[in-house]
């Protein structure tokens, strides 16, 4: 089986979705001829034509708003926001309409809308190119939010998002776009709403998603060598959260560290802590630590590693929690 990058897997997911369902449309800024600034849509316009894969003017609010109308007309829109920081002009349409339309129409008008957003930092990008927007979406009732950590899961989650009858925000970790994996591209396996335990370990649970999963695995490796075996949980589905798995894992470890790139305050880690406290209070042997971005705007390239959770920061937090 050949290796595939995350970009390749996402491209395959779009291709297969376009192929299998004639109602799927793919559009956004530069997704056509260019194939997207990250090449995720490469070749799709040539394969499926300009009616099904097309460029839009730079109008993020319009892109999200058109999704609403297209969904009403029976289409299954898959829109790309070019970067995390440029998804914000669409927030009003997403919060006020995409998320609420099914509810508002008592279920008569569904919103099978997928919005893909290349997200998070770590690529030495300029300001507005390293944002972690998940909180804005996770807090918004009516949306589902997923963030894959590896190519195979990226394929699965994007396919599931497109097939979902409800709106799904897909946060693609840019810094992992060129990471590779080997295996079958399939929609089988854990669905939206399910976390994955990537590694077992009794000392502490590392809970993360997106690009930070790789750093958690690295930290777990290092900690294992120190005699501190850590479980690693990839949340995948940021909304709905897999509360059952979280509870189960932390009830067994008694200790947890949550890791994400977003700023600390009201980053997803806050919700994870709250849920873990609700699910596993009697089993907790130490406060849950959050290793996250700081409460600052995402910094410029030469300072981004000061901001991003490092393997060392993760490991230190685990050591502290274990020593508590």
């Amino acid at each position: 089986m050949p290796e595939i990058t995350m970009v390749g897997a996402l491209n395959a997911a779009l291709r297969d979705a376009l192929d299998e369902d004639p109602r799927v449309l793919v559009f956004g800024e530069d997704v056509g001829e260019l194939g997207g600034v990250f090449r995720v849509t490469q070749g799709l316009q040539a394969a499926f034509g300009r009616d099904r894969v097309f460029d839009t003017p730079i109008s993020e609010s319009g892109i999200a708003g058109m999704c609403v109308g297209l969904a009403m007309a029976g289409w299954r829109p898959v829109a790309e926001m070019q970067f995390d920081g440029f998804s914000y002009p669409a927030l009003d349409q997403v919060i006020s309409h995409v998320a609420k339309y099914r509810e508002r129409t008592r279920g008569r008008v569904g919103m099978p809308v997928t919005i893909r957003i290349p997200s998070f930092g770590g690529i030495r990008g300029k300001e507005h190119h390293g944002e972690s927007p998940e909180t804005y979406y996770v807090h918004t009732a009516g949306l589902k939010v997923v963030a894959p950590a590896d190519p195979l899961d990226a394929y699965r989650l994007l396919r599931l998002a497109i097939a979902d009858p409800d709106p799904v925000i897909v946060l693609e970790p840019k810094s992992r776009y060129w990471s590779k994996a080997e295996g079958e591209l399939t929609t089988e396996g854990p669905g939206i709403g399910r976390a994955r335990v990537l590694r077992d370990g009794s000392a502490c649970a590392l809970i993360s998603y997106g690009a930070m999963v790789a750093r958690c695995l690295e930290a777990a490796e290092a900690l294992e060598a120190e005699g501190v075996p850590c479980a690693v949980v990839d949340l995948r589905s940021l909304s709905p959260l897999d509360v059952a798995t979280l509870g189960e894992v932390v009830r067994s470890t008694g200790r947890a560290v949550v890791v994400h790139e977003a700023p600390l305050t009201l980053g997803l880690g806050a919700e994870v802590v709250a849920r873990v406290v609700e699910e596993a209070f009697d089993h907790l042997e130490a406060p849950i630590r959050r290793v996250t971005g700081w409460d600052v705007p995402y910094p410029p390239a030469s300072l981004e590693q000061v901001y991003l959770p490092s393997v060392e920061r993760i490991a230190r937090a685990v050591r502290e929690v274990v020593a508590y």
Binding site: G69, L70, M72, A73, W75, E103
Partner: protein
Amino acid sequence: MSAPETTDDGFPTLRCLAPDGTPVGDVEVGLDEEGLRALLRWMILARRLDRECMALQRQGELTVYPPFEGQEAAQVGSAAALGPRDMVFPSFRELAAAIVRGVDAVEYLQYHRGTWHGGPYDPLATGFAPICVPVATQLVHAVGWALGAKLDGSDACALAYFGDGAASEGDFHEAANLAAVFRAPVILFCQNNGWAISVPSRAQFAAPIAARAPGYGMPGVRVDGNDVLAVYRATRQAVERARAGDGPSLIEALTYRIGPHTTADDPTRYRDEAEVERWRALDPIVRYRRFLEAVGVADAGFAAACEAEAEAWVGTVRAELVALGAPPASEVFDHVFAEPPATLRRQREEALGGA
């Protein structure tokens, strides 16, 4: 009678009937006598219902209600120009248009009764999208729907209503530009009723809204919004254009909101009664009725019959509406997702017990 002052800017305003009902332009708009009478009937029904709603609100049977009195011609004339497979994207004041589309008034009014959200009726079956409160946001929905219809090879079109106030929003621009670029079969229909709550048109923009159309590469027409024939004609033209694949149009209908912004508003705080009186004299129903009677398409008995019908109808509407109970608490949870996730199921249980 002089034309409304807002038109004193040199920009042409399409008109078929003078305020006293005399033809001043081509009155052959392509409707047969029955069609012509239908416009009057709808306007009469709509006004009667609008007034009933004001009363219902005063009596505590509706929460807040935004009346459209004065705008009957703008709404009826435009909605009547559409076919059954077309889709209307209303703002929040388009009850008259909803009636023309066949939306059930009681279902619609659940919104203002506070028992349900934007689309208590079936938007797809009625061709009338949910009531949309965040101004101008519905315009991009309409463009998306129209693009979808075009991709389906259908000749259906979308018509989106918006106000003069909404025209200042970014979404207006994105919708107009996207429509033009995609040649989407959509009509952007502005009811310029002179006011956005307390802010008059002149404090909202410095040129006629219709004058924006050339900048997008689409036709822009300004029409006397109290002249139902002119509104019908302008909309019909835009609809034909859309069906022919020639893309979007912008229509600005000059009209006036005779009542308050909503029942929560006190317009005497910001506008002169004299202005209201000037517009009252331009009443769209009186004008059209005079015309129909003058050309012999309807007699006084027709209007009287419509009024009687309206009276009976609003009685039923009122009765059904006040009989509506609160929806079950489960409604809060049951329409968020097609399949509620475990976390939400748990909340539902906490809220409702086993219900």
